[in-house]
Symmetry: C2
Subunit: 108 residues, 2 copies
């Protein structure tokens, strides 16, 4: 069963990435998106990630602090993927950087 992200006690940071696609070369997109998750996980300060795509895509990654987010934004392969994203895959996107203040969970 797929589970949602587990994160430590707040405070920590969330990067809320929402996007719409052009529809071009979606196979290449999936491979690159998977690769970005693989690259992000060992980054210093990375905590977890949740993602889903339907009419729009939403990826929420969780980070220890703003410095970790900045370092990931400027990681070389990630920068190349961002460039490719704008050139080929994305019709538009928004990035929101938010400080998680409270969290609660429930499960069966």
């Amino acid at each position: 069963m797929t589970n949602c992200a587990n994160t430590p006690e707040p405070p920590y940071y969330a990067v809320i990435f929402t996007s719409t696609m052009t529809g071009d070369n979606l196979v290449g997109y999936s491979a690159t998106a998977d690769n970005m998750v693989t690259l992000a996980r060992p980054q210093d300060g990375f905590l977890a990630v949740d993602a889903a795509r339907e009419d729009i895509g939403i990826t929420v990654s969780y980070w220890r602090n703003l410095g970790a987010i900045k370092a990931w934004k400027q990681q070389m392969e990630h920068m190349q993927a961002q460039e490719q994203g704008r050139a080929i895959w994305y019709a538009g996107y928004s990035v929101r950087i938010a400080k998680v203040e409270r969290e609660y969970s429930w499960h069966i």
Copy 2:
């Protein structure tokens, strides 16, 4: 074309709701989820909402302040839907309340 949420200049708040489903009565779930968006929109302090479901569901709603989030949490029909969600639809969920500090967008 579907667009992602438009929000005003930060700061404002995001409620990041992630969930996994039991798989029971998903038709009833969709109707209730749509109804909750319809009910949320006119709430005082509501700004916008983004949602996508794949292996997990992610709904991010945006609000002017914490008071607006609290009022929506306690709205009567929303409370009934939360109760139904735990009884029928959700295997588990997390709610994260986060203050959006920065936002940037790009589009073709």
